[in-house]
Amino acid sequence: MQDMQRKRITARLCGLSTVIIMIFVLTLFTIINGAKGINFLTPSNVSTIMNQASFLVIVGIGQAIVILVGGINLSMGAVMAFTTVLCGGMLLKDSNTNVMIPVLLILAMGAVIGFLNGVMVTKLNIPPFIATFAMMYVCRGLAWVYLRNRVLYSLDEGFRKIATGRLVSIGGFTVTVPMVIAATALLVFYLILRRTTLGRKIYFTGANPTAAGFSGINTERLTILIYILSSVMAAFAGLMYVARLNSAEPGLAGKAHFEAITISLIGGFSMAGGYGNIWGIAGGAVVVYTIQAGMNSLQLPSELQTLVNGALIIIAVFVNQFLMNKKMEIENDLCEELTVQKAKKKADKGMEGKG
């Protein structure tokens, strides 16, 4: 019995792989920084990391839901740039339009691009990697064509609040608007994925599209919906990015889709689809930005930062996969043991009845 209890606890622990990686990375950088006499885990530093991570969480959610249905969206960064560049003129300080108009337009454009992605993937049967990759080229190219080498600078102050606004400060830890937005988005998607039939359908479609189709789910429509949601999230993230930078430019967020894929994988999503917990995205984003902030405070040269980043991503995903596999193994073991025990009990009862 005790053995089983221990196994159960290990399985639980392995399931928390993202948290383990997060704690590991945080302690690692705290120790290294501490050895150099820098206090890394100050409230203000932590709040900076979480604020930075909030931006990536939005992109990460968009990527994660696509990964859940077994796809991939490489066009996210390009969508962020394209939509904001095209409507950026209306976001400027000296334009006389209501801020809501460009915001809604940008989200709508995101939805249209997502729809096109979804149609290419489902109706034209193009693999998601290629379809979204082509979309990335088209969007990025159009953004450059539209703006050439100009940059739209100095945006509306009220609009910029979504990226720079501060709410309350508790002992150096500042709660910012992006944090609230990211938390809300996570909560909404958690509710959608875990508490509605739509969420069940998404997981089912990702795990086995054929079976899902046979059991009456319109997988094509669902996939298109997911791609639309993903692109809308990208457009929204684009809004937050330009609000933070105070400028819209065609080169915005060149590697955002990769960062999003990385945090989804560190967050425990499987590339094969159908597996993952949306809260992992928050963990993944914090891990990525802790690494970034830790290296910055150590003042590593930028070319070395790429190296450490690459290596740590590989290691983090490796650890995650390892722990996940371990968890599955233990759970399988437990299942078997349980069935054996049940069978035994049944047999015992049968004996008693006869006796």
Binding site: M120, L124, N125, I126, P127, F129, I130, A131, F133, A134, M135, M136, Y137, V138, R140, G141, L142, A143, W144, V145, P250, F258, I261, T262, L265, M271, P301, E303, L304, Q305, T306, L307, N309, G310, A311, I313, I314, V317, F318, Q321, F322, N325
Partner: protein, 343 residues
């Protein structure tokens, strides 16, 4: 009888042939300076690197993996060779060092994918960061050039033209074949022969179609995957060498984004992202298609960002065309089978 044979041959052509022919003919008709010996020379020389990289990429895709570190490895090996040349090392040794480092890096990729079981997409993406970082650190993010001397004789030799045909006095009328093009053709020929005549091809298809079945039928999948990643690193280092010799100096960011062009070329050539399908010649033709489009559009004076949009559209168009061709071939097969049964 002969007619039937030709028909079968026609069906076996890689799908990118049609896209390539359409692109090439359109370019020749529309763009005035495209179909000249001089321009064909330029285009082929530019396409050398991509032809090699798309070959490597198509082999990775065939076994269901992907190698996003190709661009990083091109930069890294190029920088290693260039730095050794700058320090006065003999060119042969420098190139050998570059090739060895590329191959070892490829093996590292294979190790991470097979032994550590990290998904290829993320493993090679991380590796590309590592390779690019090595290139940047070694070169201090500056362009590397080297002094002339006896030790770079080999580089100059490889950079020279081995055959020049004059159609006229103007540079546009001169067709020249460089040693680099010859090297590329030889390498590609060797890979193709290996692919057709040894178990390389069939094993790759088997691994890509179903890894478990392949393993059960006696293919050592770990060994093969590491081997293919090593081969991919080897080809990338050759591409790095070619870039370095062609430009006669080296920027550490030279490989940036090449891996994605290689994916585009390979996929245009009929490779599937899921593995188990595709062809190496198709990928090479895909690379040629890409460079035909780029070259023609830049001759026409079109902005590079528009070229990006056009390439995106061609990719979608090519994919749809691939599918149409596949469906037709499938139908034909079914039809023939039905006919055979009736007879």
């Amino acid at each position: 009888m002969t007619k039937k044979k030709i028909n079968i041959r026609f069906n076996n052509l890689p799908n990118s042939t049609y896209v390539f022919i359409v692109a090439f003919v359109l370019a020749s008709v529309i763009v005035p300076n495209f179909f000249t010996p001089g321009n064909i020379t330029t285009m082929l020389t530019q396409a050398c690197v991509m032809m090699i990289l798309s070959t490597a990429m198509s082999m990775c895709l065939m076994m269901g993996c992907i190698d996003l570190s190709l661009g990083g490895m091109v930069s890294m090996t190029g920088v290693i060779i260039a730095i050794l040349l700058r320090n006065g090392v003999h060119a042969g040794l420098a190139i050998l060092a570059g090739i060895v480092s590329g191959t070892v890096f490829g093996m590292f990729n294979g190790f991470v994918v097979t032994k550590m079981k990290v998904p290829p997409f993320i493993a090679t993406f991380g590796a590309s960061g590592i390779a690019q970082s090595i290139a940047n650190t070694l070169s201090n993010e500056r362009t590397i050039s080297w002094e002339q001397g006896s030790h770079v004789k080999l580089v100059n030799l490889l950079g020279s033209n081995i055959l020049t045909v004059y159609f006229g006095p103007r540079p546009a009328q001169i067709l020249s074949i460089s040693a680099l093009l010859l090297i590329t053709v030889i390498i590609l020929a060797i890979v193709l022969v290996l692919f057709k005549k040894t178990t390389l091809g069939s094993n790759l298809y088997a691994l890509g179609a179903n890894e478990e079945t392949a393993r059960l039928s006696g293919i050592d999948n770990v060994k093969w995957k590491i081997g293919i990643y090593a081969l991919s690193g080897f080809l990338a280092s050759l591409a790095g060498m070619i870039v370095m010799i062609r430009t006669n100096s080296l920027q550490p960011t030279v490989g940036d984004g090449l891996e994605f062009q290689a994916v585009v070329a390979a996929v245009l050539g009929g490779n599937s992202m899921k593995g188990g399908k595709g062809s190496v010649p198709g990928a090479i033709l895909g690379a040629l298609t890409l460079y035909t489009v780029r070259n023609a559009m830049s001759l026409w004076g079109i902005d590079t960002s528009v070229v990006m949009v056009v390439i995106g559209c061609i990719l979608v168009f090519g994919m749809v065309l691939n599918q149409v061709v596949n469906t037709l071939a499938e139908k034909k097969k079914l039809y023939r089978r039905a006919e055979g049964k009736e007879a």
